[in-house]
């Protein structure tokens, strides 16, 4: 057994070491505390300069009435109230929601159907097919818009095809029709997004093990039940990604509208992004434009948050 004095000495020594450590630590700490942030600084400066600052600036401008040149007048939340009350502006947001159906929902449905059929058939030339359906993604949207404007034109391809089929009573100026202009533009979005969605879903489906389908066949599942029991649950992750990307594209739509309809006829195809552009650069209502932009950003964020939450919850 150790004597009490040696024990005390040992304790004292231990305390001394601890004290030394404690004394040394703050200096180490202060250095290691700052160093990591220094590494982050360059990226943060770029991020702040090109994203945070404009965002804050937009938020600030949205509280003013400003034509972009003369002195701005502070109006509080008036611009936001206008977004919620002005029927024309509200309509533009409703149009954006309608476009979600054409940009996101329809491509996912088509992509799932195409993917499921191709997966089952295991046809040759799948790679070539993938390239072809993906092609619209590669073409600049302005080019797509011009091509489709000509297809939809009164003397365009669509009408001449209808006429040659003897369906001339269906022929009309598609983009000039109050009811049909928005769906017509939406279908261009469907055409563009289907490729991306299909390729995403096909990639997901190719990872499904074949014996799962065999097990389903042995369990007595037909093609439809097989789709809902095996294919659909397996590509849930891909569906969430596809919806996120396409919903953002739908809500941000600008170039298609700008080139094809310019928001017309009337305001039947106006969308928030187009309103932002029009107000900021054509009508001199920069404050209002900023408010619309902020509302649109929040809306994109919330809808995608919801989509991802639902996707995750059902995955658990």
């Amino acid at each position: 057994m150790k004597s009490s004095s040696t024990q005390a000495a040992e304790l004292g020594a231990a305390a001394g070491v601890a004290r030394q450590r404690r004394r040394r630590r703050p200096s180490v700490n202060s250095r290691s505390g700052l160093t990591p942030y220094l590494y982050l600084l360059p990226a943060f400066v770029a991020y702040a300069a090109f994203l945070l600052y404009p965002l804050i600036r937009a938020g600030q401008i949205s509280l003013y009435e400003w034509d972009g040149l003369s002195l701005a007048t502070f109006v509080g939340f008036d611009n936001y109230v206008e977004v919620l009350t002005d029927p024309e502006l509200r309509a533009s947001f409703v149009h954006a929601l309608v476009l979600i159906f054409f940009y996101a929902v329809l491509p996912v449905i088509i992509g799932l159907a195409l993917g499921a059929v191709l997966q089952r058939a295991r046809v040759r030339g799948l790679a070539a097919f993938r390239t072809i359906v993906f092609l619209p993604q590669v073409i600049a949207l302005v080019v797509v818009a011009i091509a489709w404007r000509q297809i939809y034109a009164p003397d365009g391809t669509l009408n001449s095809v209808l006429t040659s089929l003897g369906l001339q009573e269906l022929a009309r100026p598609w983009l000039g029709d109050y009811l049909l202009a928005l769906p017509a533009v939406g279908l261009i979005g469907t055409w563009v997004q289907t490729g991306l969605v299909t390729v995403l879903l096909l990639a997901g489906m190719s990872r499904i093990p074949g014996d799962l389908y065999e097990a389903a066949r042995l369990d007595g599942a037909g093609p439809v039940r097989e789709f809902f029991a095996v294919t659909l649950p397996a590509v849930r992750g891909e569906i969430v990604v596809a919806l996120t990307l396409t919903i953002i594209a739908a809500l941000k739509t600008f170039d298609l509208i700008y080139v094809t309809t310019g928001g017309g006829p009337g305001n039947s195809t106006s969308v928030p992004s187009y309103e932002v552009f029009r107000r900021a650069f054509e009508l001199g209502q920069v404050g209002s434009a900023a408010a619309i932009a902020i509302v649109l950003t929040v809306m994109i964020f919330l809808i995608n948050l919801a989509v991802n939450r639902i996707g995750e919850r059902e995955d658990a």
Binding site: P209, D211, L212, E214, A215, A216, R217, L218, D219, G220, A221, R225, A229, V230, P233, A234, R236
Partner: protein, 360 residues
């Protein structure tokens, strides 16, 4: 319960000349546990998948009971299959996985739950019924896959290497569980494996396949003691049987320094001046110097009770690998030379050209 009959069943994959399964004739008795075994690409899995209906039968027939099921879709064959990777539906709970086939068949919810519970009890899965497959261990997943088959109450179980994803210890445990379970349920079972130990321990009878051709169907004991050809002789048993090409002499074969009497019939039936002689490592005994074959011990593997000599011997100026089992307590030195000869009555003689068994 039912018998299973392969009647000249043949499968040729599109784009290949050689059949994956060539005119398979096989009868599985009611309630029997039959194991299909063979090396990779021998057609054992293809045979099972033909029986399942997952693979076309190009010529020939397959019968379950008296019913010709050659063109019957899988779901109507009254079979259940356990897959190598279990193929559990990942988003469904254990009970939904097990009850899926019943649900499709339109069995009521109450009855379905009852049957799932029964199977779960049998497999010790009652505590896991609400879990998803990914929250289960490998052994539990394997049991769920079994449960999914049992719940359907099929006439035939098909199992495609169901133990190959388990670790060695669990594999040995599960092996006995599966064998006793299927016997208790009395359901005819066709079981595919590449592992000959599994085949020998589980099967009532074992069918050995090679290159799409059935080599032999017999009880494990008979396969071991009476292989029909050189392939079966070499495939069944571990370590493998020694196969030596020995010259035929008057009164038997020349086994090194001695003549081994194989019996008159064997020598008469053989076509050439040499025969292939098979002796299992445990049927070789050490003998006096100059008697029998000289074996140079390259390696002596001591396993406790037994020791195995992995060595070489020269027959007709050709070097052959040879394995001899000896007493584990008195193993010979490495690099020493020992003399061995076969125990009487434990020698297999095969025709040197055809590889078929000759004699008895």
């Amino acid at each position: 319960m039912a018998t299973v009959t392969f009647d000249q069943a043949t499968r040729v994959y599109p784009g290949t000349d050689r059949p994956a399964v060539d005119k398979l004739d096989l009868d599985v008795g009611d309630g029997e546990f039959l194991v299909l075994v063979g090396p990779s690409g021998c057609g054992k899995s293809t045979s099972l998948r033909m029986l399942a209906g997952l693979e076309d039968v190009n010529t020939g027939r397959i019968l379950i009971g008296d019913r010709d099921v050659t063109d019957v879709p899988p779901k109507d064959r009254d079979i259940a299959m356990v897959f190598q990777n279990y193929a559990l539906y990942p988003h469904m709970s254990v009970s939904d996985n097990m009850g899926f086939a019943l649900k499709i068949a339109g069995v009521g919810k109450e009855q379905r739950a009852e049957r799932v519970r029964e199977a779960a009890k049998l497999l010790d899965l009652e505590d896991y019924l609400d879990r998803k497959p990914k929250a289960l261990s490998g052994g539990q997943r394997q049991r769920v896959a079994m449960g999914r088959a049992i719940v359907r109450n099929p006439r035939v179980f098909l199992m495609d290497e169901p133990l190959s994803n388990l670790d060695a210890k669990l594999r040995v445990q599960t092996r006995t569980q599966i064998a006793s379970l299927t016997r208790r349920l009395g359901v005819t079972t066709v079981y595919v494996t590449h592992d000959q130990v599994e085949a020998m321990t589980m099967g009532d009878r074992v069918a050995v396949l090679k290159d799409g051709l059935l080599q032999q169907v017999d009880t494990p004991r008979r396969l071991y003691d009476h292989p029909d050809n050189v392939f079966v002789a070499g495939f069944i048993g571990s370590p493998a049987m020694n196969l030596l090409e020995l010259p035929v002499v008057d009164g038997g074969v020349q086994f090194g320094g001695t003549t081994y009497d194989t019996g008159r019939e064997a020598i008469d039936a053989a076509s050439g001046s040499t025969v292939t002689v098979g002796v299992r490592p445990e049927d070789l005994v050490l003998t006096a110097e100059g008697d029998g074959l000289a074996v140079e011990a390259d390696l002596v593997e001591e396993q406790g009770a037994d020791a195995f000599i992995f060595g070489r011997t020269i027959v007709n100026d050709k070097s052959h690998d040879i394995i001899v089992r000896v007493d584990g307590r008195r193993p010979p030195e490495k690099n020493s030379t020992v003399w061995v000869r076969p125990q009487p009555g434990h020698v297999h003689v095969f025709d040197a050209t055809t590889g078929e068994r000759v004699g008895d």
